[in-house]
């Protein structure tokens, strides 16, 4: 493992990709960064641009209007990258997703658009669960980085 990969694993930067949920998972994600859980002490930092990020935290079901944006944010993130889907909507569409008759406004979960590595179910998941999901994501990130450097 090179120096850059090592630094990436020890301090992964996360970008909060709000795909259009109800805000519940978003505030829980922020709560994980707030003083009680304070993941920043492990080097996990929320960044304002996907170009700086290693891990995308995707929340919410994807409304059809968000499709181009979600794809674009994913493409803007440099490799290696990991997507963590947070919440029931991001895992499978939750109660917004309907097949028959189809919910006209909703595409479904983000994994219909972009590859998702870790799923964190719950409505909304607690910050502990989200931190656990990010830790799983870091392991995947490590795997991807090693595979790339070979």
């Amino acid at each position: 493992m090179g120096l850059i990969d090592r630094a990436r694993i020890y301090s992964p930067w996360v970008y909060h990709l709000h795909c259009g949920g109800c805000n519940g998972c978003d505030i829980e994600t922020l709560a994980a960064l707030a003083p009680r859980f304070d993941v920043e002490r492990f080097g996990i930092q929320l960044v304002a641009s996907p170009r700086h990020a290693d891990i995308l935290l995707a929340t919410g079901c994807v409304p059809k209007q968000f499709i181009p944006m979600v794809k674009r944010v994913y493409n803007q993130t440099p490799d290696p990258k990991v997507v963590v889907a947070i919440g029931g909507c991001a895992c499978g569409g939750s109660l917004f997703y309907d097949e028959d008759p189809e919910n006209y406004a909703i595409l479904g979960s983000p994994d219909m658009l972009i590859p998702v590595d870790v799923y964190v179910p719950g409505c909304a998941p607690k910050p502990e669960q989200i931190i656990n999901g990010v830790v799983q994501g870091i392991l995947k990130l490590n795997e991807k980085a090693t595979r790339r450097s070979k």
Partner: protein
Amino acid sequence: MKFESDPTLVDFVRTEVVPEGTSFRALHENRVAVRINAEDADRLAGRFMSRFNARLIHETAVDMEVEGFDMVYIYDFSKVKDRLVVVLEARISKDDPSPPSIAKITWQASWAEREIHDLLGISPRGTPDPRKQFLPYEWPNAAESGAAPPPPEKGPSGPQEKWIPLGIAPNDAYATLIPIGPYHPGVIEGQTVYVKVEGETVVSADIKTGFHHRGIQKLIERRGYHKGVFAAERVCGICSAAHGLAYVTACENLYEAEVPDRALYLRTLLLELNRVHSHLLWIGVVADVIGWKTGFHLSWGIRERVMDIIESITGNRVNYGIWRIGGMSRDVSKELAERVLPAVKALKAEMAQLLPEIAAHSVVKSRLVGVGPLSYADAFDGGAVGPVARASNWRIDVRADNPPHAMYDPKVISWEVVTDEGCDTYGRTLVRVKELLVSSEIIIQCLEYLAKTTGDIRLEPKVIPVNSEGIGLNEAPRGELVHYVRASEFNMNLPQAYRIRTPSYRNNALIPKMLVGANLADVPVVMGSTDQCLACTDRFEVIREGGGASQSMSWGELVALGRRGRFGRV
């Protein structure tokens, strides 16, 4: 407690308010439905505003299938008569759905008229802003011209290249046009704000929402009353208690409702806990936006303790899932109430010490005082609600004017409506800081009651009668929230129509007004000052592009979809 209505109100409305109405019907709890001629709508709106100082709560339309559309105008008359809400209804035909616009009389209806155009294809005559509200601006408008939509342009065909919803044409932007969003660091949710700046000063602004439309109204219409509680809660995860309460209030409003007292106290308790956590969240977000990270961590540190209390009461942190039509599903035991009480008291003492210090901090003052001004006249004409209106010295609060089905009786619970004369972002901060203390006082009173007494928390739900209407008003942390439900004429389980109007929907419409004259660096603060919640604002809409392969849907198909009945009939 039984919720009763004043029987003399129909006569009052018939003689004083709308003498030109054709039929009058008393709904439950001081709501009166009046059928009018659609052509009178704008004249009546002008008279209500000027003579009665009434406020438009919402304008919407209901699809009556073969019979046409029902235009629904909900007016708040609570300043004239106790808790009076007048619902004007007018039938229009589906062939030429163009009632007179009331947005040309009051800005309060502006977004609502754009919305009904998107939703049902009704285009009000003479509306000042006919652009799309939730659909993309470049959506083809075949319905008006009768022509087929133009063929897609050649050239870059990625979806994002087509996505240029410009409010201000680049040609006339002699100053600089700065697009912000949909993803931007200021607010986590997506919206596009176009600001035109000269140097650093904003000269005009435009806001485009709609990215979050999730079709919740349609979901509730086809899942029925009891499942709708959970969908309504998930309109917004921050103010989920407010949506839950507004939903059950609207559904209980359909019949002669009776709710046990203990359930009313529980509802108040949860709503106020929700308000405390939401306001603390807001203070943290604004502190973060102005670059004062300490403030963010201070207020979010306190907020976690509120979340602990909510979790101990409901079992959940975000979506509580304990709202039921006719009561609540989970009680607070004596032991729990006694354990929570000292925690709330300690929290209140700490907030009383810390929050005024945050508000008086020199960084906060230097960034917020005088930023994003909104005068009383502008707030009234634009239809501001909640802390934004109260910071412009307008004393409106649904809890006092038109209380939801919870315990806000001033004889039982002592509390006050907080207003401020600041008319700027700092005033909005002060209103929220004071409201936090008032809310924690209400929480303490509710917990004391719950610790002392026992009783039922839910009565057997009654059969929902056909052909009735219910309006659930509630004061969400961001302002007045309205749920409107119309029961079906045939089916006792499914509503004919369900409409939600959220507080951010009104306050966001005022953001362009507040932005003019601001410094560019203050744009995120002004946008944040309304505590905008876009998950609330964009509840519903359609988009043309499917995933991967383009699944186009023409405007005609969309209108057909919007007009389709619940059972798939066209």
